[in-house]
Every structure is written in structure tokens, then in C-alpha cells.
Amino acid sequence: MDEKIFAKKDIGKLLEELVPEYKFYSPTKIKGNIAFKEITDVKEIELDYLNSKVPPKDVLFPQKEIIFEYRYEGKDVIIEERKDLEDKILIFGVRPCDAYSFKLLEDFFASGDFQDDIFLKKRENATIIGLGCNSPRQSCFCTSVGGHPFQKESTDVFLSDLGDTYLVEAISEKGENLLKKLSWLADAKKADIEKSKELAKQAEESITTKFDFDLVTKVLDENFEHPVWQEISESCIGCSSCTFLCPTCTCFDVLDENDEYNNRGRRIRIWDTCQSCLYTLETSGHNPRPAKIQRCRNRIMHKFSYYPSNYDCLGCVGCGRCITACPVNNELRLIIDKILEIQEKNGEKVSA
């Protein structure tokens, strides 16, 4: 299908057309931060943004999610499964790094003998409209983790911001069908396509943070007990901002929430974090990861060593959120530098 063009001022038209069919999630400003929220009013849409504070992961894997609801009738329990998983979802304006995170999440939740029904159903019913990233931040490093500021993977429709207009491309079948419905879109001119390519090139060049993650994985695998971890975890205060804002973190806790006066309740899952001491604390009092050093290590190992060995890809999309969020500036780039230093030192030893 050919590329189309879509004027930014027509966003209201788009919304109007899609809202009856989809739950329309778009970037919107909440208390000064960009967040992906369900909207119905065009005024809420925020088009000028770098990226959202909390990743759009929370649309498909919200902080608090109901697993099922239950009712007590005497000693009997009646379990009611969720019915809203079939709702169609549209997420507008997802940056390529976050779109790629959907692929990671999908692969993770679908892996193994048990599939996470809740996430996968939602993902299946979601249409992702990606948006090219014209100005990556200094903290972005998507190109090092196999991404690109204009990567189209796991989006359905991809937009490139050309100023007043978006260049629209259908990527998947779902996207093509969506565009067919929007018959009023004009065809793109050759110049527009060229411009989009130019922007992609510029964006890629503007990314200065680059790592060789194959090497990182190798070094991590060999240095689980290295003293560098003490150094890395030293200034960490264990606040877990990094994991809560991470588009690929999936850990959760399961709780029962009761409405005791009405003999009903719901089993929910909420985000949990490996940076919390309670995460692994067992009832007996034993804690396999009792200190910050183990918890810091677990996060890094999980993304850059366990993920590659279990799912054959890095557990990171290079969005840089953990870098900007860390209040004590104990950020990923520094950590990776420190890890790579081990290799350098070892290399020196060998050559000497």
C-alpha cells in the first residue's frame, strides 16, 4: 500500500472516526508529564513530545490489573472472568522504542508452557500507531539494542513527523485495514517520502550513546561475582524508579482485594520491582537477594544476560528512561561503562 499524508490539524477527524470503534489511547499531558491515556476529546491530545514519562506499556499491562472477580455465596465461590479483554484498543503516537517493547513483552508473555492470557488478548486487540523519533535524547541508545529511531517493527501504522503533516505508512495487515477506513487520507508525494528518510537518517546520526551489547552480555556472563557490583550498587538507594518507568519490566505481585461488606472481591496484579527487598523475601524470613548489590545486579543481569539466554534478544529497548529517572544518577550508561571496564582491564592483563 502506498504512503499517505495526514495533516496534523485533522487529528480531530481521525479521533472522531476511530473513537466509536476503539478505545483511543494517545499521549496527553497530565500534571506536566506526558502519559498515554484513553481520551475522547481532541483537545487532550498532545502531539509535541519527546516521549512519555511512563511507557505506553501501561495501556496493555497496567499498574493495577484485575485478573478475575469473585463472589462468595456461603461457602461457595463464583469466579467471574474478565469480559473487557475483547475491546479494541488503539494506541496513537508510540515511539519506535516503546513499540519494540511490545514485541518483547509479547514474546515474554507468550513464552513457555503457560501463556499470559490477559496481556496477549489485549495485545491481539491493540492497534499500534507508531511515530518516528525526530529528536532522540542524549540518553537514548536504541541503535545499540537493535532498534532505530524510525524502526517500524511491531507497529501497525507508522507515522513520520514532517512538520505540519505526518507521512502515514501501513505496516501490518491490521494497519492496512485501518487506513482503508480512512479514505480521506491524501497520497503522499515523493518529496514527503524523501523527507522522512532524511529525518530518519538525521535522527540516527544524532544518537551518540553506543554500546556493544554482545560484549556486555559476554562480560556479564563471566563476571557474576565481580567486585564491580559492589561499586555499581553503592550509591543506589533502591527507589525502583528505573523499573517502574521501564518499558520492558514485567514483574508483578498478585493480591486479593476484598469488598467485605458485599462478599465480593477481585484478584489483581500490580507492578512489583526487583529493587524492593520484599520482592524475594520468603515467609520463613530467608531472602535470596537480601542486599542492594544482588538486587542491582539482578536488574542488569536480567536485561542483558538472562534475556539473551532465554529469549535470544536483549531485554532493553534503549529508551533511556532509567537513565533520566535515577535520582542519584547511578545510571545505566555508567553501569555499562563499569562493566566494560572489567573486560578492558582483563585485556590489558592478557596483553601484558
Binding site: K31, K64, C239
Partner: protein
């Protein structure tokens, strides 16, 4: 005031003092701040050799409360043979207060640390500036005269420091660590104990005058974005409980979800626990990834404690904190009485 030059002087002096302390073995390690990798941040650093003192910096972005690293002590502060090491703590007023208050709660021993006092003129409210810049990337921050200059790819903006200072710093009277006679600490630069700011809590008066409904709306709106990551708790030097009340599960006191009632209750009880203990460092708000402003609540606590019990936290390690103390004649105007 010329912040930059003043800071540069302090920085040079600080390095000298630190070097001297390490050289004379008066301290084993020093915890201070170093240059951050992002324009609006600084990074805590622990140094134990004289060569590293040049990494120490001092500027208006040093907002982490270093007392956090002493309760409990990070591994580098404990030697496997010598036990607790003597730690030099680069302390602005609120860090010093935190240390002293923690000493009054018997959490640290003042003779095991050395307070290296630094006169502080407030830290930049980075969240407010970031929010005002909005969706643009900040690449450079500098301070010139009374202005914070923020530069990005295609913009440059000045923020008057007086206004874009952290709210708690605006009313802070204790800008240098209070010197406790018992432990002869030292101060980089001159050390007067109080500056003569008159604090009549007028900054929260407007909020206090609102109706309960309006207050509820404002507070819940502020808290609505909370993700329950507990960064506020982890950054707070006074939050050292092994098991926080929100994490207790026998019984489960309060919900752990991000539903409004649960979030509200978490912040309410955390505030309750801060009464008479908050040292007004503002770390809780400054570390919040969502930019929630908790300063108003902290100010209210300060006010209650000041007015009711005439207490300011972190001034004297020998005075009992107000919540473990009592007086027969404490005010009780809030009690129900017969008409």
C-alpha cells in the same frame, strides 16, 4: 548574590578540607557529591583516597540527602576488621540536621562521623524547571548571577533562582549544619548557625484557608499520578524502617494499589511518621519520578511541630524528638468538650 563564584570558592575549600582530613586520617572515607552525567543532576560519591578529592563538587544541584547512606551504613562504610569507619559527610544544612536528628533517635553515633559543613543557598527545583521546559531536552544548566540558565538544542531560558529554588529551601533557616558542641565538626566557609529569615508559614496559608473539599481535590490531584514506586521513602533519610507499614502483611493495613484511596493513605501516614522528624531537605519531592510535590505537606508538619511543641528537628542530638516526648500542659483545644 553571585552563586557561581561563591560555589567555586566553596568547592575549592571543600576539596582542600577533604584532602586534609583524609591525609591526617581524621576520617577514613568521605561521602560527597560529584558531577552528574545529566545536566540537572549530581551524583553521590564515596572517596577514600586523596587523589579523588578533585571529584568532589558543590553546586545547587546537590540535592540528595547523604545521611541516607549512613542508616543503614552502605558496605563501604564498614570495614570487615575495624568495624564502623569514620565517615566524613559533606553536609549542607539539611544533611547536618538529618545526621543530628538520627543521632537523637540513636541511629548513628556522632563521634563515628565528621560533619563537613557547607553553607547552602538552596537547591534548584529541577522538576519545576523540567516541567516548565516541557517536552524539550535540557542539555546544559549553568548558574549565573541570580539566574539558572537552561540550554537546549534550540532554546535558552533563564529562571530566577529565588523563585525556582526548591520550596523548602526558600524558607530554610538552617543553611549550614548546626554545630554541636559535643563533636567538634567543621565548616567550609563561615558558619553562623541561623540566618535571619522570618518564617511565618505564609507559604501554606493560602492552602490552609481552603475548604476541606478544595483541599481534598488539590491533594488528590497532586497524588493521582503516584506510581507507588516509593522513591520518596527510599530517598528520605528518616525512612529507615526494616519493614514499612505499607509492606506489612500481617495484618495488611493499607492497599498497595495505585487506586486513589490507597495512594492517599500511603502519603497521609508517611506524613504522620515524619512529624517532628522531617529535616526539610526536600529529597522526597526532588526524587519523585512523577514530579509530585510533597513540600506543602512537609511544611505543614514543620508548622504543627513548631507551633505545638516548639521543636525544630535536627538541632540538638540530646533533645527528645517530640513524638516520643510529652508535656502535661500540651495544647488540647481539639478535644471534644461539653458545651
Amino acid at each position: 548574590m553571585g552563586l557561581e563564584t561563591e560555589n567555586k570558592d566553596i568547592e575549592t575549600n571543600l576539596r582542600e578540607v577533604a584532602k586534609g582530613l583524609l591525609k591526617d586520617k581524621k576520617v577514613d572515607v568521605i561521602i560527597g557529591y560529584m558531577e552528574g552525567t545529566l545536566p540537572m543532576l549530581s551524583q553521590p560519591i564515596i572517596i577514600d583516597s586523596e587523589e579523588d578529592v578533585d571529584k568532589l563538587i558543590w553546586n545547587n544541584l546537590c540535592y540528595v540527602n547523604l545521611a541516607k547512606y549512613l542508616v543503614p551504613r552502605v558496605p563501604k562504610f564498614v570495614d570487615s576488621e575495624k568495624g564502623n569507619l569514620k565517615v566524613g559527610v559533606v553536609s549542607k544544612g539539611c544533611v547536618g540536621r538529618a545526621l543530628i536528628h538520627l543521632a537523637s533517635e540513636n541511629k548513628i553515633k556522632l563521634d563515628e562521623i565528621k560533619i563537613i559543613g557547607i553553607p547552602c543557598n538552596g537547591v534548584v527545583n529541577r522538576q519545576r524547571i523540567e516541567m516548565e521546559i516541557g517536552e524539550k531536552e535540557i542539555l546544559e544548566v549553568s548558574v549565573s548571577g541570580n539566574n539558572v540558565i537552561v540550554k537546549g538544542k534550540d532554546f535558552e531560558k533563564e529562571f530566577p533562582f529565588d523563585e525556582y529554588m526548591n520550596d523548602l529551601c526558600k524558607t530554610c533557616k538552617i543553611r549550614k549544619p548546626p554545630l554541636v558542641s559535643k563533636s567538634p565538626d567543621l565548616c567550609v566557609g563561615e558558619c553562623e548557625e541561623y540566618s535571619n529569615i522570618v518564617d511565618d508559614f505564609s507559604d501554606i496559608a493560602e492552602f490552609e484557608a481552603l475548604t476541606p473539599e478544595e483541599k481534598w481535590n488539590q491533594i488528590t490531584e497532586e497524588l493521582s499520578v503516584c506510581t507507588r514506586c516509593y522513591a520518596c521513602r527510599e530517598a528520605c533519610p528518616m525512612c529507615y524502617c526494616n519493614l514499612c507499614f505499607v509492606d506489612q502483611n500481617k495484618p495488611v493495613w493499607f492497599g498497595k494499589t495505585t487506586d486513589l484511596p490507597d495512594v492517599f493513605v500511603y502519603h497521609l501516614i508517611r506524613a504522620m511518621h515524619m512529624a517532628g522528624r522531617c529535616v526539610a531537605c526536600g529529597a522526597c519531592s526532588l526524587v519523585c519520578p512523577m514530579g509530585i510535590d510533597l513540600n506543602k505537606i512537609n511544611r505543614k508538619l514543620e508548622k504543627i511541630v513548631k507551633e505545638r511543641f516548639d521543636f525544630t528537628s535536627g538541632l540538638d542530638p540530646d533533645v527528645l524528638p517530640p513524638m516520643v516526648d510529652f508535656k502535661m500542659e500540651d495544647a488540647q483545644e481539639f478535644m471534644l468538650e461539653e458545651d
